[in-house]
Symmetry: D3
Subunit: 236 residues, 6 copies
């Protein structure tokens, strides 16, 4: 049994509050246990220079930890003047997660900005960000009548091997103790968008990789049902 | 009558949600109409080098607009690598607002970090940040048994002259149209901590300044009642 | 009696040397006691992008302390790669001080750059910068036949409460000891452009604020006479 | 058949020139087809502050593209003042690739710097960098009598699905056309250190992932034989 | 005859005002024609880390153009966040010019900061900066009873070939038209500290180089007489 | 006799490997003893804004030390975010060295980028960079049919006075011990492009300067023969 009483294959308590804000084109506050990420989506007219006249749009994502999100305060990147390597890596991942389900031709010459700001961090922030970002983007595009830009939904979750056991949706303490961790991004049709498996302490076997892939596939199905319900609720 | 039906001397709908997050030492989500600011307070052991061995603490404040808070998305400062002049000016103001009611000797050799992140901006964000920061700081210090560090409460509000009429607590559209605007920070005992009056379009007379000072004094009394109620609610 | 023998309501020795340099369009070296600020004004053809085609000009101000101006050498901001918060705050203030008396339509699509470089700092540098900047700007605009761009003169001075007494035009030692300080910017017609009152050590009462406002109003009248004399001298 | 006549499961021509330079503690020039990466390893006494007194060492990696390595010249990051997201992501990957086979206790309080500078880029630079970095690190550690710090060898290779076919060790043109690409880092014992599968154009199935994993496993075995031969040659 | 009526081998009107400021440890305002440079010298206790405990001091120089010094306003480097290559090159030259006549052992573990801020630029600013810096440094060291730190005086001047003729001490227009230019730094004993000859438009012969070296030697002798007179005047 | 057995007037072993890489337009790996510099030349269509429509091209040079080139690892400038003063100074020198033999009109509206990356540093890197850059530029321009852009060849070498003796082509240990050092850039016709003589420890006499100029003239003649041979070899 895990510290919070979860079974190995169970997600943390998942809540998605769509339209958490009124001014951004789309927004969602996603909570995965104590991890809380505010995701917004903004649609700007215009695209970067190299797409001028192409008829195609662009999608870009940014990620940030609020300084106090981590309990022990983290320095504000705007104040140090530099995004940390981890930040850069995560925001590139969020962009790659959404692009394969985004029809940039349907978007037209517009830029879809996705911002994921972590209000509270307790492990799994990059996956929560991706799952929330999909809802925010969906809401923004729906409002602009550009709903068909998103060709499928996207969800993400982490898993890891902790003390020899495969666990789904690690919280911070589990993540710190994991020998291996994996982040998986999956489309609504069950196909994989990104797999990142990392040997934190020791290399892993193909069999372990397979077990973790199975575990996350089930988790993401559940996340995608919650996403659909959230979108449905505010559309109604 | 104002666009939202308020009388000239009325505040916007004010809500303060203390302990909005669980991990930061103190937190409050303050809403002034559509303006929403997440304020957190973090207490770190240690002080900047020039205070080593002094037995005294330090207080520092940071402020940020989330990119999508402004509707029309603003560039993320962590990404441009530089805080804007407006940001720097506001975070210095927040620090100055809290220091006169902070007994740095009672804090001991600790640093109190105050972070004000604007989730949604509709005018008056610097004043909302100060009013919320007081509640977050109060909560963090109470938790650490350092409550006597704060010797009084602090509230802030803006006012301005719009089309010749003095109005309290401007929203974004009013602020954009104001000839003159003022931001006032006041301690719980009614004394002034900071007055910043700015001629946006034309200079102002002493009589106009006096009228705006009266208006804000009443507004801040009301804000300080809401702060006290919020703190009381979670202490209970 | 003050350290330099001044009465509480007396300015320091004030000297304004207009046209201190030959190459900038306008320049003035202002000395307020030991504080000496070199102010220049430059008129560039062209405006920032958002004003293209508007027929209106732009005014922007920059401020800097030369490294050795402070006695104990200060790091050069060009070398650290970052302007300090205090610098940013002051240069924004200088810009706001001049804009309400600047008719940007009369300027046409030009940018008026105001640079204030502190050669020696002994308190009151931001106010000296504003008072000197007016003279430099006036000289530059006169030379270009754009004199009507400035609709009035502008002067500024500080005051503060030191050991319970209200004093005008603080030098560095007085400023360091002040409980409260105020910077006031006033137009030639006696109306207020900016009031910044700050409780350095303890909050202040409305009565104290009023006393400081009175003190500075008299001081600025005297400064504006010196500005007029300086401009007259070189015009002749 | 591929443009250069290779079979789908064939590596490009692989050459590893150990001790390419005389001054760095360890070095290797690795060529994978036209991709050429100069890898060096430097051992510094001392560790970052948080490891002082721990008896443990630290390993850190940096990566760079020389400006002309890409044919069409790329801006030099030292000159723009900012490492690109791609650079940051790759150098973090190189560090993660080597750490699971590095016994930081055996290293003692030393820092092992690994630098991978791409002299010529034709796809697969991050994998070539990892494979070459192992040889450079091995050489530097051997010279310092710290050989047991590396507990195993590490190799890496890419693969992808191009026009529906799984291909090993993509060159630049193949990489640009790939629907899916994968980078795999494997230890000498055949276990996985990092798997990064990315849907560049469309999501992938588990079956496709499995096929790519098989392909890379064979490729890395061959790379590890070349690494061993290179190390052996200069040791003799 | 030159535009200002000078003979080819004549310096511009040279004025050195020592002790131009009261607060810096040493200062001098040097004017070479319209070029005016404010030089200050500051003595700080302490040295960079690598000299701790060595008993030796350090000398470092910084240089800057005030934005309006150039007539056509130049961007402020503190504002762009980056010193230009030209600035870096010049401040390194100033440091090299003074170090060969500085006995760092006699200075003790102190840092001598030399700041050269160009108030008005009309050619020859680097040479004027060096000549003025010597006077400022001499004044600062004398005040601290460290006069023997400077073992000789230093002066500098430029020359160039313009329309085939060798001219001393070029102003901006002459400098812009020069085929070749040279900057020479010479100690009081007539030996050379630095020679920088640059072919601006075409390579130069050894004979031309010799002619320029002769011309500058005479110029620097005259500059060194003016330096001595300036130092004498304020010492008296 | 020098440590490596050379006579005072002898160059180190000089090797120039033209076309070291296949993708850059031009490249050369130059070795002067243990100093090894990879030089590349890239021709981009287009020029900086101020040359648009002028019919003339632009040449710009960049220089870098690879971190491990110095044995004791140097920080990577891309990672510190700032080029060091020494780097800036050297790359400006490389540009000035090539421009007097470059006919920018013959180049047309193109930019010639010269990159010099030091793989291994053992003294004289800036001179090696210039000598190698000429070969790389020559190769790139020949390939584009723009060979007449280079009107002459350029070579460079250092010399210095070590323990009272004039030595050619200093290695790192000699350079560290030199009282005086000089870098000379010479065109193929024997005329001087740049002379930089620096008193590292003590000023130098005109006679010493003359001796060093003679020594370098002979050295550069030899370098220029090696350049010609290298270019000839690959042209054939």
């Amino acid at each position: 049994m895990r510290a919070d009483g979860r079974r190995p294959e169970a997600l943390r308590l998942l809540e998605i509050e769509p339209d958490f804000l009124e001014q951004p084109h789309g927004s969602a506050l996603i909570s995965c246990g104590k991890t809380r990420v505010l995701c917004t989506a903004s649609i700007d007219e215009g695209v970067p220079r190299w797409l001028h006249g192409s008829g195609r749009g662009w999608l870009t994502a940014e990620y940030s930890l609020l300084p106090a999100s981590t309990g022990q305060r983290t320095q504000r990147e705007a104040s140090t003047g530099k995004q940390k390597g981890r930040t850069v890596e995560i925001q590139r991942l969020i962009g790659r997660a959404l692009r394969p389900v985004t029809d940039l031709g349907a978007l037209g010459e517009r830029t879809l900005w996705v911002d994921c700001d972590v209000l509270q961090a307790d492990g799994g922030t990059r996956c929560a960000a991706i799952s929330g970002a999909y809802v925010a983007a969906r809401r923004a595009l729906d409002r602009f009548g550009l709903g068909r830009t998103l060709t499928d939904s996207v969800g993400a979750v982490s898993a890891g091997i902790v003390a020899g056991e495969a666990l789904l949706d690690l919280d911070y303490l589990e993540d710190s103790a994991a020998e291996v961790d994996i982040n998986v991004v999956m489309a609504g049709d069950g196909r994989l968008i990104e797999v990142q498996a990392t040997a934190e302490r020791a290399p892993l076997t193909r069999a372990q990789l397979d077990e973790l892939l199975d575990l996350t596939a089930h988790g993401i199905e559940e996340i995608e049902r919650a996403q659909a319900a959230a979108v449905e609720a505010v559309r109604a």
